[in-house]
Point group: C2
Chain length 568, copies 2
Amino acid sequence: MGDPATPPASELAAMTIVDGASLKHPFSDRVPVRSIVCRPDGGAGLAGNRIRAGGWVKTGREQGKGSFAFLEVNDGSCPANLQVIVDAGVEELSTLVQTGTCVSVEGVLKVPPEGAKQKIELRVERVLHVGPTDPAKYPIPKTKLSLEFLRDHVHLRPRTNTISAVARIRNALAFATHSFFQEHGFLYVHTPIITTSDCEGAGEMFQATTLISEAEKLDKELIENPPPTEADVEAARLTVTQRGEIVAQLKASKATRDDISASVAELKVAKENLSRLVERAKLKPGIPKKDGKIDYTQDFFARQAFLTVSGQLQVETYACAVTSVYTFGPTFRAEHSHTSRHLAEFWMVEPEIAFADLQDDMNCAEAYVKYMCGWLLDKCYDDMELMAKLYDKGCIDRLRMVSSTPFERISYTEAVRLLEEAVKGGKEFEKDVEWGIDLASEHERYLTEDIFKKPVIVYNYPKGIKAFYMRLNDDSKTVAAMDILVPKVGELIGGSQREERYEVIQRRIAEMGLPLEPYEWYLDLRRYGTVKHCGFGLGFERMVLFATGIDNIRDVIPFPRYPGRADL
Amino acid sequence: MGDPATPPASELAAMTIVDGASLKHPFSDRVPVRSIVCRPDGGAGLAGNRIRAGGWVKTGREQGKGSFAFLEVNDGSCPANLQVIVDAGVEELSTLVQTGTCVSVEGVLKVPPEGAKQKIELRVERVLHVGPTDPAKYPIPKTKLSLEFLRDHVHLRPRTNTISAVARIRNALAFATHSFFQEHGFLYVHTPIITTSDCEGAGEMFQATTLISEAEKLDKELIENPPPTEADVEAARLTVTQRGEIVAQLKASKATRDDISASVAELKVAKENLSRLVERAKLKPGIPKKDGKIDYTQDFFARQAFLTVSGQLQVETYACAVTSVYTFGPTFRAEHSHTSRHLAEFWMVEPEIAFADLQDDMNCAEAYVKYMCGWLLDKCYDDMELMAKLYDKGCIDRLRMVSSTPFERISYTEAVRLLEEAVKGGKEFEKDVEWGIDLASEHERYLTEDIFKKPVIVYNYPKGIKAFYMRLNDDSKTVAAMDILVPKVGELIGGSQREERYEVIQRRIAEMGLPLEPYEWYLDLRRYGTVKHCGFGLGFERMVLFATGIDNIRDVIPFPRYPGRADL
């Protein structure tokens, strides 16, 4: 264990102590590229330090008639590369310069000659490791490849500038999410992935089952070892009868005890064999059925189970006990959508607050979105600059605007009025606008991008287009729901105050044509110690799209799942 | 929208400004109980402040011949309750005093009379909300109920002292996890839940499918609207022939253009009808099959898909690009284990580090476990006191010991030698000890609890009992694997340095009898820019068991899933 070439830990640590702090990675002897080039002076102040660094070669070129090589090395700790210079005497240069090669090197940091782009470079004295890459076979040899092409290589695409920047931005947004809710006293609750409740009573769901694999196992077993025929069973039954008769005869003829026990033992064996055959004869290939329907009592959970579409209903049980909670986990939709906005597996953030109403809900949601935007400006500025350069010139300004501008708040009725006015003024929408419709993406984006040019919270939606659990307003026509619309993606957040009145929610479930029984536990929250509460859901990938300006949702999740595709 | 009784925000905010900071919840007008009673002075310094508080009554009693009531109110923000006093003139007391009632009240904080347990109490002037509870029907009316009983009421059990304390400890451990890895420069990566790779080549997996629901939909449709018979198809075919003949006749007889087009239109309708019938005649009830096997090309992802058992292989793709990463997400095992240590759905933390070996891996894992223990002592001391009182006297000392004691590190060979010595000394194990066995839980616990009395890291296991991806040591007999064993739960962490050598890992896959094809993407990480790397997995519920001293894993996850059970 341990690299024989590794000097003692103390010696290595001494190499990389700068201003009293260690530069090196806490759990390896390398110095992350970020610790060098992301210093305010670009790393110039580190000149003279001996360090180890490792990463993958972005570009490399031999210079001075092959006497040395320049390598741009990236380790994913930041978008910038470390410039590394290796002399021909130190290592075979032709391998090192190939894009994708992994190198781990030791050397001394130096200030490059006047006029260089870099503020610091590493002069290599020792190459510790080379992981070569054959440029003729490497699937992503070029530095500029389309995002669509990269989707066919999800296992290698994090080595590209774009996908690694997205990974850092996604990571920052995830930690910002936890930090925001923790700072405000919320508890993170793990709601279940496999569920026997259907949150919205709609939406295609994936089934989680062992029935098929069990059936396949049985089918295979029955082919290898066919079930007994009726004749087999009859023969076994006959044997039992005969053995029984023999026992009876022996007993009647007062045979020796030994003879009787021997024949009783044989009878027992025959009976066991018969019952085994009878059991096996019952085995039927395929998925178990009862009364013509699939027999889910045979499934792993003894009932039909699905992958969750939302943790909201379950997390409400915790809000109605510990007040302020949130979930952050994967959710699933088995919809055959082939759009750039839908995934079959995606992550959702769902806070839920007791003793709080729709106004509080909007305040929380607005504060959360602003916090994330501020966090990115603060912690991921270099990655955001890359996004601005490659994908969306306006993305940094958008973060600044959202983090500092109060969101507009208008009722649904007012939103419809504004859209109708726009139509009168000549604006054309594919879907007609009238009170009662579910706003389409084109309407939402028009409100936020054209009319207000900032995030808009639309609240108090018609009850007919919203879920049963949203609190009925006093007008009996609308519910206390709210959506947050933002430029670039439209709906980012959907939330509501929940119906806490037992009689009202019971009536609403019935009105929607839903059965009461599966919701008895949910009704219990209203039966016992009911409380005013509210919450919302944020589609996490939508937030990454909003931040980065990237167009396709498949490029902002590490392993996208959509119809026909689930690589790795 | 908005409670009509709510005074303006400014007035409420002014109520609760103490020492320049607002006591109130950031997104509601209540002051969390924690902000009052968890102050160093127990809240005494807040006397005189007018506040709003809300929560659920733990116990209540009428006093002074029904002239007032004492309520112990808990809002889940901490284990302690707020003592609330309500006069009979303010509200009907008999409802308020029932366990489980939700109350939201406004009043003035006062120092209770000398000799009281509390340092502060709330004298209520106004009751803003009561969510009553019928004690005759409330499923969890008593304060002491067995954990087993509570498992039948997962939607109400967070209202109990134990389950809410577990929720806070679990939350603290989750945020400690993120904080630890973020502080050390790791990126949080969301590995997929639905996967088409099987990490260990073993273990029962859940299938994620839409085949069954699609088949059920089709079956229902075919019953409502039976497919055409052969006679139906024949009749339709005959109509096409006849219509065709009519067209031919009209053309031959030089009929008018109008007549011809009319009959061509009729022919077209007949052809469309025929092709629709032919298509429908092909529909077969049940799950689609091809060559006797289930036709997975018809499934949502066009192939068989499962719920992940580990994100390790996938997260390696990110480590081999951005160096330091971790996952924290749900994982699944469809094993029919009915033990107190297994769940079908559980959460795992899996870091992965490039440019790091087994020694680095152990350092990281040890630092992580210590960090979590220190975090709990720092942030959840009151909850830990509750655990010590109710479940495990030694749990706080255990956290202290683990957070401050260096872990013992011994090779597997040494561990076996120690166990064999113990056997010679008279210790009896159910499973015999010899070099080559997979250590059983009894062996692991003996090492950590009896021999060393502290956490033990066992490393360099026989290759035969470990996975193909673990790095082969120079002895060709062992692999660079390590397990961390801790008192109370045994194995808490399992990790390894990964095999980075292309030829070696290819050979190991073959040796294990696994097919190469599904691992081609994994081999690519070794083909192109390969790098030394390592990682480990921590079973998150195991950590909660270790911390709390609770015995059954079903009590430390909000919604436990196990054979026959998936409530909500």
